[in-house]
Amino acid sequence: MSKKTIAVIGGGRWARAIAQVIAGNEAEVARVVVHHPQRQGDLAALGDADILILATPAHAVRGILAEAGAVMHGGHYLVHAVGSLEPTTLKRISEVIAEETPVRRVGALAGPALALDLEEARPAALVCGSRFDEVGALMTRVLSSRALRAYASPDLIGVELARAMVAAVALAGGVGQALDLGPAAQAVLVTRGAAEIARLGVALGGSERTFFGLAGLGELLVATQGRGSADFELGMLLGRGEKLADAERKVGRVCDGPTMVREAFRLGQMHRVRMTLISALHHWLGGERTVKEALSDMFQSGTRTE
């Protein structure tokens, strides 16, 4: 296989970190181009690349693709590293790609790897979900380094949903942290949360094992440890009694948790999926229950097999 030219689309830290890892893989990569969507004039570089990696905020994806789609073609491989669903439509990013570009060979990256891990070459792992074997194979080759291990999965839907829904569980983890519930309760929140999003993910076409792999549980562990993700931080502030708008302002980063809680609840009802944690969060965020009542609802929701 010849060396590949790769274009990373995105102007943020995450995009730059991915570009840095790939650029270091000289055995597989000929050239890396970073395309900043807000700068004009370098769309042609995208057309010449073999692999496109999209690492932008979810809300910007459609606009970027609508423009960049003009230089994309059927020979491209397009892999996104966007950690959420499209905000207004709640479509998966691969669905947006299908609506805006001619590219068919699409993949999604997820897993326990923060920008800082990639920048400092700390051990981390990513999984590339794609229905096309060749996309998974390509990405494992161009992403793998001494510190970063890359895996392939045929479960595109599962990888995208797992990563997006982790936000809801991370929010719950933050609340648990703020209430100082202790490690056992935290473990219950995380594992039951993972089980709930797995049930919903399966109902939406994903594979259960994806939700307990790197894209699901792997991301979740990173999101709920240490400083945690933006949603974890948001959950902590909310757990301490802050109003949602104030808390979001304090976090200062994009928080998908509240939206994902609402949508996971709606989808769970639609697909008749049992979601105790998500229901409790939904009713609490909607002001129908206090945080203590919500926790009580969750922990006393009836005896069931796991």
Binding site: G69, G74, E99, T101, R104, R105, F132
Partner: protein, 541 residues
């Protein structure tokens, strides 16, 4: 500008048949030798064992080889030399190709072309045989069919594409009448005739079999499951596509049992459009030798019947499959009775209308194409189809990639089906009546609703109001209504009641004799069948 009738590819099939058979046999042998990695005994062994098992259970007629021949071959496999095994494989392939390959006789085709309109005229005339005398006159045919068979969609665009490309029609499938209806719809639209694969069982009728065999249909024996046969079929399909024969596949694989529009499609033979397309690009680049291959364009189409000829049998079959033991054990005799239909009597009593609606043509990957055959992306920008197939600098077949491409093409075809399904009065009225039945029996499952014994009557006024509500919901979601379904609700109801009462053994719904303001569902299975057309479009209750 359209393709002139004299240049229709099917008209030259008779001359090309020996070449096609030879080329198919050669390529199938190459393919199977490659798949078996030079060990043909594995493929022969699999074919022998499967055929011995099948023929031991039911000795079919018109077999390529009989049971004793398969047993002899199987016993000899261990003693044959490599050359002898290859020869046996080659001989078997040749026999299968000869069995599969269709034929074409221009005189028979001309006769059939003249016969189909009167035959359809009879079938689609409310008066049945009483209208036959009118149907048999050419002017009567035109008059009748113009009222009973309507063709919609981008017909002139398809005519343009057929001039320089190969059309691959992919219609919905609910009835055995679909093939002649599509054939006639193409003829009326001045589009070229297609070849198509037909179940081998249909060829057992000497008259039907004669016409089908002489008009380009090829034989598909669905009872044969081994890979060798499937590869022969696929190779044949690919060869005729590469040679520019307009083709027709039913992606549903078989008639819809539920009455719904296909929600899953089988992509086996349709999948041969991809290697044929790769071959096209390779030849155009001079990477492979051979004559130029025309681009292929998929043409989804929906065939929409007011009444379906085999409705009773199909829905009984559907319910026995999905209900399994619960249904069959409890009501076996009733289920049997519903399956028994007199086909001939049905033909002559059939009343109804049909709409064939062509969808927007697409390339083999499901991208829409314009009049010039240019593939377009979702935003309408031109895309280069060849680039989807390049690997290390040249177009190549990649089985996993192509299977995934084909799955996506299937999704595009099903989307087209949903967008182009035309809903008839029988569908609307059945939907409304079925919903009312469900409301009357809220806590029962499907099988109890179908078999719940107390007679339930529906107030006509309520049904009329619900027809209006349903139509509003369908329109708001962009679904298409037949003109007969667009009039006042009372006319829609009368049309449906007339249709239900004119053909089926037991009317799905009829007016109460005691109280004309009440409607009585008589055959709930049929109601369920016709309402499934709307149900499959995922319209909320």
């Amino acid at each position: 500008m359209r393709e002139s009738q004299e240049s229709y590819p099917l008209l030259r099939f008779h001359e090309e048949r020996p070449l096609i058979v030879r080329e198919t046999a050669r390529r199938a042998l190459d393919l199977l030798m490659e798949k078996s990695e030079g060990a043909p005994e594995y493929i022969l062994n699999d074919a022998c064992l499967q055929e011995i098992r099948r023929l031991s259970e039911s000795s079919g007629r018109d077999e390529v080889r009989d049971l004793s021949a398969w047993r002899r071959l199987w016993r000899s496999l261990g003693t044959l030399s490599y050359e002898e095994r290859v020869a046996q494989l080659g001989s078997l392939i040749e026999d299968y190709v000869e069995d599969v390959a269709g034929g074409f006789d221009r005189r028979v085709y001309n006769i059939a072309s003249r016969m189909v309109p009167p035959a359809l005229g009879i079938l689609l005339t409310p008066e049945g045989l009483r209208g036959a005398y009118r149907a048999l006159s050419s002017s009567g045919v035109e008059a009748l069919l113009s009222h009973r068979l309507r063709i919609e969609g981008p017909v002139s665009e398809l005519g343009e594409l057929s001039r320089f490309g190969t059309l691959v029609c992919v219609p919905t499938h609910v009835s055995n009448l679909d093939s002649p209806v599509m054939g006639y719809a193409l003829q009326l639209s001045l589009l070229p005739p297609t070849t198509y694969g037909a179940g081998k069982n249909l060829f057992t009728n000497p008259v039907l079999g004669f016409f089908m065999r002489k008009c380009g249909a090829y034989r598909v024996d669905r009872r044969i499951k081994h890979e060798l046969y499937k590869d022969v079929l696929k190779t044949y399909s690919q060869v005729i596509l590469e040679r520019g024969y307009h083709s027709m596949f039913f992606p549903g694989g078989t008639r819809s049992r539920s009455g719904g529009v296909e929600e899953h499609v089988k992509l086996g033979l349709l999948g041969t459009t991809l290697p044929a397309t790769v071959a096209r690009f390779r030849r155009s680049l001079g990477l492979d030798r051979g004559p130029a291959i025309r681009p292929m364009y998929l043409v989804p189409a929906t065939i929409n019947f007011q009444l379906v000829l085999e409705a009773e049998t199909l829905i009984a079959d559907f319910l026995s499959e999905t209900g399994k033991a619960r249904y069959i054990i409890e009501d076996d005799e009733s289920a049997q009775a519903l399956r028994v239909l007199s086909f001939a009597r049905s033909l002559l009593r059939l009343s109804g209308a049909v709409v064939v609606r062509f969808g927007r043509p697409m390339d083999v990957l499901g991208n829409p194409v314009d009049r010039q055959g240019q593939s377009l992306d979702p935003r309408g920008r031109p895309v280069d189809l060849s680039r989807y197939f390049y690997v290390d600098g040249e177009p190549r077949v990649v089985p996993q990639r192509d299977a995934e491409y084909m799955r996506e093409t299937g999704v595009a075809i099903m989307k087209s089906y949903r967008e182009n399904t035309v809903l008839m009065p029988t569908h609307l009225v059945a939907r409304v009546a079925w919903q009312k039945l469900c409301n009357e029996m809220p806590n029962l499952d499907l099988y109890h609703r179908l078999r719940h014994s107390p007679e339930i009557t529906l107030r006509e006024e309520d049904v009329l109001a619900d027809i209006d509500r349903l139509r509003a919901a369908l329109r708001s979601r962009g679904h298409l209504l037949d003109p007969f379904a667009e009039g006042p609700a009372r006319e829609v109801l009368e049309t449906a009641l007339m249709a239900f009462g004119s053909y089926h053994k037991c009317a799905a719904l009829e007016r109460s004799e005691e109280d004309p303001g009440l409607l009585v569902p008589r055959d709930r299975q049929l109601l369920y069948y016709y309402q499934n057309r709307i149900d499959s479009l995922k319209v909320p209750s």
